[in-house]
Structure formats: structure tokens, C-alpha cells
């Protein structure tokens, strides 16, 4: 019933939710540069990758 595009987006959403939720989140909370937590940096990185993923899924399909 769902198109592969929809399934991929749904998976991406769930991946984002899992990455932004406690168990994995605690792993990101490590000291980095000058003893700063790496949490924010890693979140920005994941965030950017999610956006990239969504853009790839939606725009590529669109051009086809």
C-alpha cells in the first residue's frame, strides 16, 4: 500500500527519533574540545544527515 518513498521517510523519521532519544543520546554526551560536551555537535551532525537523507529520498524520486 505504501510506496517505497513513504516507507523510507517513515524509517528515516524513526531513525531520527531513536537517535535523538535517551539511550543513544547518553552515548553522545562525552567531553570533547576543552572538556565541552560533544552532544550539541553530534546532534547538529545527525540533524544535517537526516536533512540530506530526506532531500535525497524526495528530490531524486521527484526527478524520476
Amino acid at each position: 500500500m505504501r510506496s517505497p518513498e513513504q516507507s523510507r521517510l517513515l524509517a528515516l523519521t524513526i531513525l531520527g527519533l531513536v537517535l535523538f532519544s535517551p539511550p543513544l543520546l547518553l552515548l553522545f554526551d562525552q567531553p570533547g574540545i576543552a572538556d565541552f560536551s560533544t552532544l550539541s555537535g553530534i546532534i547538529f551532525l545527525i540533524w544535517a544527515l537526516l536533512i540530506l537523507g530526506a532531500a535525497l529520498i524526495l528530490e531524486r524520486h521527484h526527478e524520476e
Binding site: 576543552a34 550539541s40 537526516l50
Partner: protein, 925 residues
């Protein structure tokens, strides 16, 4: 450069620019060269999500609670990622049903219920009013800082000084803007292209302003992010611990709660619904928005932490974290940059106020005011010629009232709240729409009472756990109940309801409010029934993304074109009505009925302007007969079940036919069997007839051909011929009897007779035969007459047959036969027994079959006495049984008691007493 006059000039020039841009957008839309028809503009307009709260508050939040500010943007990112399923579904439903606000959406889902719409509108007003106040506060504060820096004291707000407060004037200008571009016309789609263009422009301005400040802080004040971090860690003790998860209120759980809160609020905030769903031109635009809007969020947050760090290092010069964005460039002595920041903040605040006010005013007019006015008979709204003016008037008044209320809120209690608190409190209230909205989109069973009860309970829980304690902390109430609970009931403490402690207040409030909301929605839905319209709407909503969900026109009543046109033009004006109904203005005498499509279009048009519940009432007022009621839609569904019913009946019929076919087949089989028996019978009869005929013919030929035959021999031959002829005629007589018996044509003449006498007569007949064989016959008869009702001749025939058989089969050397007649119960029993070999038990019924005896005789011929002739026709016993049965008695073979030979028993009922006495009487006469 920062004199009040300059700032005011720049600020109001900016607002004027907005007017120009919006007017340009509207002009382009009228020329059918829409600017809004672009996925980028759509994505930018969604960025109305970033308000003054984002612009100023994010940095403040980052400086105090670490990375938790990110959650407000990660939630919408996740919501946007699944927007291709969720938001597209909402867009499609809103387009199909001409829905113009979230209140209308939820009301339409639950059977176009006016009550639900009003409830949602009320909750939205309660939830959003502080949020609007927050924007005004941001404008006031930023203006004060900009003009009075380095004095950073909070401006004193009071109602009497509103003329001095620039926020008041901004609100005033905004109300003019919103009235101009938000209520210019009543379009069926309720789309505001000029406004959306202006909002997109504002999104670019606020992003540019923020990125400029961020770039300035990171790369001009310091040498890039690494330098910033190193310097900060040197300058401020413990700074490295301020950006870990432990800084987030409520820790990991608080993090998760706020993430969910932001995710839900992004979809349910009225202004987000407006830009995401209502202002959407083409659902394909959602494709780009799915990634472009999260990218916008990422960019606007990129420099939040650097600005926060730089601000924290600024010390007294930068002051309050909420103002870092502005004070940081001010502290560096710059002139133009603070002004740009101010404009950015202004754009963030105004864009939010514009969209939110339009969304709220639509709700107020469509869900609260118009339904009331239309129901008020004293206003005679139904007789007015043109109501579109009314509608626009109501909406304009609503806009002004909303902004005034927002201003009052800001002036009276705004001081007590920090920016962030108000924002999250509003979020938590808007999240109360989420269960009804989202569950309603995917679960058909969600029903109206559940949605209403859920939202009411949710908003009450929200009020108790967030709003009222917030008021108390602002100094409006005694804070004692927060720590000890009201009336000393500690389990009712608003921040630790039922003893749930250790959570941050937002997650705590979200948990309890959503728990009761969802619980009531699901629980009541499971235990209540939806009415017809609700069922239809539920099906339309949940199946919206299915290709077959194209909506059919469901109006079936009659309305003249003229009436319909007049109704539409009263609410929408002449030109919009003409566009909806096909460009010609019907004449008053035009009685041609409107097509169902026209009625549906009219309903859609009115729904766009007035909301679905009101539109339905209005359409019902002109559609004569039944506007196709849901019951009739259900009856259409019923036809399907009728077809199923026919199908079931057909199946029943066919199984009946199969059963009848089976019966026919077995009947046919029986007939074939009978046919076979008849053939056998004919063959046997022919055989039987041929045997005596052959001997008659043979002896007759001998007599004819050989003249020299001694007289003695001739006499013997003639004797044989006579005997065989007798046998032949007897056989024919028996075959005829048999045929009569079997066809039921044998007529008996039952009369009253004495069984004893009949026995005597029959014995007399066979005496000669007995003497021939030397059979000793013994009779055992009762002394009194045994009266029975029988055909005397036929009964005698039976008796002779039985005696004859006994005679034939009795022992060869010392043949003996005994005949006994005894009364037995209410009948007489006659037994004829011989001292022959008897009949084997298996054979006893077979002897009553036709010609059975012949076979036996043939066997005898084969094995024992080949010369002896068949001793009977083989029809005697079957005929006898037929006669006795017809007389109401029984005939069967039994084991002989006296000698163990063959024994035949006849049982006939006694003649009734009454008949006996009557016949006696008749005899006397």
C-alpha cells in the same frame, strides 16, 4: 544613529515594506502569476514557526539550560520528515472539504460538530493569547534596549502608558496589515497569497539577521568556533559542564518529553496549520519543504551556542541571556548591526502575530460568532441580502480584539514571564489537539464525545499543572499550593501530581494532560456509537490518501439555481459566487434545479468562508427535500449488503436445487430398479406361460399327427392338455390379480362373515387334492363363530392357496397339515403348518416375492427331482399377502411349532361389535 526617531523610522519603514510586498503578492495572484506557487516560498512560510522566542529566546535558553533549546527544532524536524504521509493527508482532506483552520478540521472530522469546533477555538485562544503577548513583549524589550543601551533595565509596563509603548503602535499597524491582507476577500480557499509572500520575506530577513550576528560573534569577535570555546573555557569556570545533558531540565526524560512536545505542537499550533495546510497551493511543494524547512531550522540554530558563549563572556555589558543577540553587537559599539538585529526580531514577531491572528480570527468568526449569529432569530440574518460584509466585519473585529487582548496580556502580566516559559506553556496547550487530530486521521473509531471529553480534560490538566502555577509564580497567587497542594492535599501538587516527582514541569504536564486526553478519547470512543455523518467523515479522513477517496457530490435534494446563487452571494459576494457556480448569474425566475455538483461546490465555498458546521446548516436551508442525509448514504452502503444478502439467498437456492437434484437422481434410480423388476417380471411371466403352452401344443400336435393312438393314451394326453390349460388360465388369472393388486385397482367387497365357515369351505375345496396325496389334515377351530369383515371369495382364495402350498411341501412319506384358528387380542389368528422341511429364516420374507418359488423349484429340479414339474406359479403368496393387507390384516411365514415345518400365519381383525349388532338387527328385519 540609535535615536528613537531613527529606530522608529526604520521599524515602520520595514512594516511599510511588508505592505508593499504583500500587495505585490496579491497583485501577482490576481494576474495568475502567483509567487506563492513555489516550494521554496512554501518552505520559507513554514518558518513562521521561528518567532521572537526563537530569535531572542534560544540564546537565553542555551545560556541557562544547555542544549535543550535544540529540542524545539528537532521535534518539528522529525514531524516534517514524516510530513509526506501526515501533513499531505491533512492537506488533501482540507482541500477536499475546504477546511480553513484547525478548529474546522477537528470539527469536520468529528461529524462537522459545531461544539467541537467552538471548543478547539476556545482552547486555541487561551493557549495562544500569551504567545502573542510574548511577541509584543519582545518588541517592547528590544526597542528599549536598542534605544537606551547601556541602560538595560526592563521597561516599566502599565496600561496608562500604552501610548509610549512602541509595541502598541506595532500592534496597531499589524492589525491594519492583517485586515488589509488577511480579510481582503472571502475566498473559498481562504488563501492569502500576499500575506504568505510577506511571511516568506520576513523569514529570510530573520535568518539573515541571526546569521549575521552569529558570524560576527564567531568570526569577528573571536577567531572561529574553536577559539570561542577555548576562550570560554578559560574565562568562565564550569562552562564546559553547561552544555551537557545534565543541564537539560529533567535530564534524559525531560529531553524526550520536550522533543515530543515540540513535535506535536508543530503540527497543532494554529499558525502552523494555517501555513502548512491552508496556505498550501500544491501538495508537491511539501517535497521540498520536508528537507528545506529543517535546513532552515538548522541554520537559524547554528550560531545559538556561539552567541550564548560570547554573551556569557561579555559579562555585565551583555546583561540578560535573552538579550544577548542584541546586546552583543551593541557592546561592541556597532551601529547598523543592532538595528538589523532589531529588524530581524521585529520580523520574527510580526510574522508570527500576522499568521496567528488570521488563524485565530478565522476560528473566532467561523466557529464561535457566526454559528451563534445564525442561530439567533432576532437578528434575521437569513433575510439579509448581503452577508459577506458582515462576515468580513466580524473577522476584522476579531483581529482587532485578539491583538488588543494580546496587548493587554502583555501589559498586565507579561513582565512576570520569561520568554521561554510562555512559549512552552502554549506548546503544551496546543498539544492537546494532537490526540483528537492524529488519532482521528488514522483511527475510524475515534468519536465526538471522546474527542470533546479528551480535550476538555487535557486542557484542565494543563491549566492545573502549568498555567495556574505559572500565574502563582508571577506573584498573582499565593505559591503555597505549589509546595503543599491545595487545602493541604499533597497529591494534588501541580508540579508533582499524584506524587510524580523529579520530572521537569513540561514533561510532567505533558504526561498527565496527554494521558487523560488520550485515555478519555480512546475509552469513550470504544464505548459510544458514532452517528451517520461522523462515520462518513471518519471514513473520508482516514482514507484520504487512498486513490479511490476522491470525494463524490453527496447532495441529492432540489434547489433552484437562483436560490443557491443568492445564498452564496449573500456570504461570498457576487464574483466569488459566479466563479463557483459557473459564470452566469441566474435570473430570479430561473427554476432550473441546481446540479448536485453545484450544491457541493456551494457547500465547499461556504465551508471555506464559514466553517463546515455552519455551511451545512445554510445549505440545508435552501435545499428542498432532503439534502442527502447520511442515512441515505448509509443506505447506499446498504445496497452492498443487500447484494450480499441476494448472494446468500442464491447460494441457499442452489444448495436446495442440489438437494432436489439428488432426490430426483435417487427417484430415477428407484424407477430404473422398478423398470428392471418389471422387465424381469415380464420375462418370468412369459417363461411361465410358455411352459404349459409348450406341453399343450406338443400333445395337441401328437393327437393331430398320429391317428393310431390307443384310446387310453389319447385320454391321458387330453387330460394333460386340459390340466395345462387350467394351469395356464389360472396363471393368467393370477397375473391379472397381481397387476390389479399392484396398481391398486383390485376392488374387494368386504362383508361380515364367519371365519370358521370360510375355513370349512376352503378345506372342502382341497379335500380331493389332499386325498390324492394322502395328506392328513387336522383342524383346530373355535366353537363359536369368529366374525370378521372380509371379502369372502378372496379370503377363501388365500386359504386355498395356503392349504395348497402346505399340501405340496408336506413330508412326502407321511404328509400332515394342521390348521388352527384362535382369537388373538382383538383379532383372529389362523396358522397353516405342514411337517415338511420348513423355510430357512433368511428365506421367510423372500417367499412373498414374485416368482420366488419358481427359482426354488428350478433348484429342486436341478439337484433333486429333475423330472418333477414346477409346483406353482410363484404368484400365490404375493397375491395372498396383497389381499390380506387390503383386508387390514397381516400374512407372514413363521417357524412351525408342532413339527418345525413351514408355517404361514394370517391375522385378521375381529368385526366391530356395533356393526355386528346392526347387522343382527338388519337380519332380524
Amino acid at each position: 544613529m540609535r535615536s528613537s526617531a531613527t529606530v522608529l523610522f526604520v521599524a515602520f519603514s520595514y512594516l511599510a515594506l511588508l505592505f508593499v510586498i504583500a500587495a505585490w503578492g496579491d497583485r501577482r495572484a490576481e494576474q495568475r502569476r502567483s509567487l506563492v506557487n513555489s516550494p521554496t516560498i512554501y518552505s520559507l512560510s513554514i518558518a513562521v514557526y521561528c518567532t521572537a522566542w526563537t530569535f531572542y529566546g534560544s540564546v537565553g535558553r542555551a545560556a541557562t539550560t544547555g542544549p535543550s533549546f535544540l529540542l524545539i527544532y528537532l521535534g518539528p524536524t522529525l514531524a516534517m520528515l514524516c510530513g509526506w504521509m501526515l501533513i499531505r493527508k491533512m492537506i488533501r482532506i482540507a482541500r477536499a472539504q475546504r477546511i480553513t483552520s484547525i478548529a474546522d478540521f477537528i470539527s469536520a472530522r468529528y461529524g462537522k460538530s459545531g461544539a467541537i469546533g467552538a471548543l478547539v477555538a476556545l482552547i486555541a485562544i487561551i493557549a495562544i493569547m500569551p504567545y502573542i503577548a510574548l511577541q509584543l513583549k519582545a518588541i517592547t524589550v528590544s526597542y528599549a534596549i536598542l534605544t537606551q543601551y547601556p541602560d538595560q533595565s526592563q521597561p516599566q509596563l502599565s496600561l496608562s502608558g500604552f501610548m509610549e509603548d512602541k509595541a502598541f503602535w506595532v500592534a496597531l499597524v499589524l492589525s491594519v496589515f492583517i485586515i488589509l491582507f488577511g480579510t481582503r476577500h472571502l475566498d473559498a480557499s481562504e488563501r492569502h497569497e500576499g500575506m504568505v509572500t510577506a511571511i516568506a520575506f520576513e523569514s529570510i530577513i530573520k535568518l539573515c539577521a541571526f546569521l549575521t550576528v552569529g558570524g560576527f560573534a564567531t568570526f569577528i569577535l573571536y577567531d572561529g568556533p574553536t577559539d570561542l570555546i577555548t576562550q570560554a573555557s578559560l574565562l568562565i569556570p564550569d562552562i564546559s559542564h553547561r552544555f551537557g545533558l545534565d543541564q537539560v531540565p529533567g535530564g534524559a526524560l525531560g529531553w524526550f518529553g520536550t522533543l515530543i512536545l515540540a513535535m506535536l505542537a508543530f503540527i497543532t499550533l494554529p499558525r502552523q496549520f494555517q501555513v502548512l495546510v491552508v496556505e498550501n497551493v500544491n501538495e508537491q511543494h511539501l517535497r521540498r519543504a520536508t528537507w528545506l524547512f529543517p535546513l532552515y531550522l538548522l541554520l537559524i540554530n547554528l550560531f545559538v551556542i556561539p552567541i550564548a558563549l560570547a554573551g556569557l563572556m561579555g559579562g555585565a555589558a551583555t546583561g540578560e541571556p535573552d538579550n544577548f543577540v542584541l546586546t552583543l553587537p551593541l557592546a561592541s559599539g556597532l551601529h547598523w548591526l543592532p538595528l538589523l538585529v532589531f529588524i530581524g526580531g521585529l520580523s520574527a514577531a510580526t510574522s508570527m502575530m500576522i499568521v496567528e491572528t488570521i488563524a485565530l480570527s478565522t476560528m473566532v468568526s467561523n466557529q464561535l460568532v457566526m454559528p451563534l449569529l445564525i442561530r439567533l432569530p432576532s437578528l434575521h440574518l437569513d433575510r439579509r441580502h448581503d452577508l459577506s460584509g458582515w462576515l468580513l466585519g466580524i473577522r476584522r473585529i476579531a483581529i482587532i480584539l485578539i491583538l488588543i487582548l494580546g496587548y493587554l496580556y502583555h501589559a498586565l502580566i507579561g513582565e512576570a514571564y520569561s520568554l521561554v516559559t510562555i512559549g512552552l506553556v502554549s506548546f503544551a496547550a496546543a498539544a492537546q489537539f494532537a490526540p483528537s487530530l492524529l488519532l482521528g486521521l488514522y483511527w475510524k473509531g475515534a468519536c465526538r464525545t471522546g474527542a470533546a471529553a479528551g480535550m476538555i480534560a487535557g486542557i484542565l490538566a494543563w491549566g492545573w499543572t502549568l498555567l495556574i502555577p505559572g500565574f502563582a509564580q508571577s506573584g498573582w497567587l499565593d505559591t503555597g499550593f505549589i509546595d503543599n497542594g491545595p487545602f493541604g492535599l499533597s497529591w494534588l501538587r501541580p508540579y508533582a501530581l499524584f506524587g510524580l516527582e523529579g520530572w521537569d514541569i513540561y514533561t510532567h504536564a505533558l504526561f498527565w494532560s496527554l494521558l487523560v486526553n488520550l485515555g478519555l478519547l480512546v475509552g469513550l470512543s470504544l464505548f459510544s456509537r458514532q452517528n451517520g455523518l461522523e462515520q462518513t467523515q471518519a471514513a473520508l479522513f482516514t482514507n484520504a490518501l487512498r486513490p479511490e477517496a476522491a470525494q463524490a457530490a453527496i447532495w441529492q435534494g432540489h434547489a433552484s439555481r437562483y436560490e443557491l446563487f443568492m445564498l452564496l452571494s449573500r456570504y461570498l459576494g457576487d464574483s466569488a459566487s459566479r466563479r463557483l457556480l459557473g459564470h452566469t448569474r441566474p435570473q430570479p425566475d430561473d427554476e432550473t434545479p441546481a446540479t448536485p455538483e453545484m450544491i457541493a461546490a456551494a457547500e465547499h465555498g461556504l465551508t471555506g468562508a464559514l466553517g463546515s458546521a455552519t455551511a451545512r446548516i445554510l445549505i440545508n436551508s435552501v435545499v428542498r427535500g432532503e439534502a442527502l442525509e447520511i442515512s441515505s448514504i448509509l443506505s447506499i452502503l446498504d445496497t452492498t449488503s443487500q447484494a450480499l444478502e441476494y448472494n446468500r439467498r442464491l447460494e441457499q437456492k442452489s444448495s436446495e436445487l442440489a438437494r432436489i437434484g439428488e432426490e430426483l437422481r435417487s427417484a430415477n434410480e428407484r424407477l430404473r430398479e422398478l423398470d428392471r423388476l418389471k422387465d424381469e417380471f415380464v420375462a418370468m411371466v412369459s417363461h411361465e406361460l410358455r411352459t404349459p403352452l409348450t406341453s399343450i401344443r406338443a400333445f395337441a400336435e401328437i393327437l393331430r399327427d398320429s391317428g393310431q393312438i390307443p384310446d387310453e393314451k389319447r385320454a391321458h394326453f387330453i387330460d394333460i392338455i386340459v390340466r395345462e390349460s387350467e394351469r395356464l388360465s389360472r396363471l393368467i388369472e393370477e397375473v391379472l390379480d397381481m397387476a390389479r393388486l399392484e396398481s391398486g385397482r383390485m376392488t374387494l367387497k368386504p362383508t361380515r362373515c364367519d371365519f370358521n365357515e370360510l375355513v370349512h369351505r376352503s378345506v372342502d375345496t382341497v379335500t380331493r387334492l389332499n386325498e390324492e396325496r394322502g395328506v392328513e389334515l387336522e383342524l383346530k377351530l373355535p366353537k363359536n363363530p369368529s366374525w370378521i369383515v372380509a371379502d369372502a371369495d378372496r379370503l377363501q382364495q388365500v386359504l386355498i392357496n395356503l392349504l395348497g402350498n402346505a399340501n405340496k411341501f408336506a413330508d412326502e412319506h407321511n404328509p400332515r397339515v394342521v390348521l388352527t384358528l384362535t382369537p388373538f387380542k382383538r383379532s383372529y389368528r389362523l396358522t397353516v403348518e405342514d411337517n415338511g422341511p420348513g423355510i430357512a429364516e433368511a428365506e421367510r420374507e423372500k417367499v412373498f416375492e414374485k416368482f420366488h418359488q419358481i427359482e426354488q423349484a428350478q433348484e429342486q429340479q436341478l439337484h433333486r427331482t429333475p423330472a418333477s414339474r414346477p409346483r406353482g406359479t410363484g404368484l400365490g403368496l404375493p397375491i395372498s399377502r396383497g389381499i390380506i393387507n387390503q383386508l387390514g390384516g397381516r400374512l407372514w411365514a413363521d417357524h412351525g411349532e408342532q413339527w418345525g415345518g413351514a408355517c404361514f400365519v394370517v391375522e385378521l381383525p375381529q368385526a366391530p361389535e356395533l356393526v355386528q349388532s346392526e347387522s343382527l338387527k338388519s337380519r332380524v328385519e
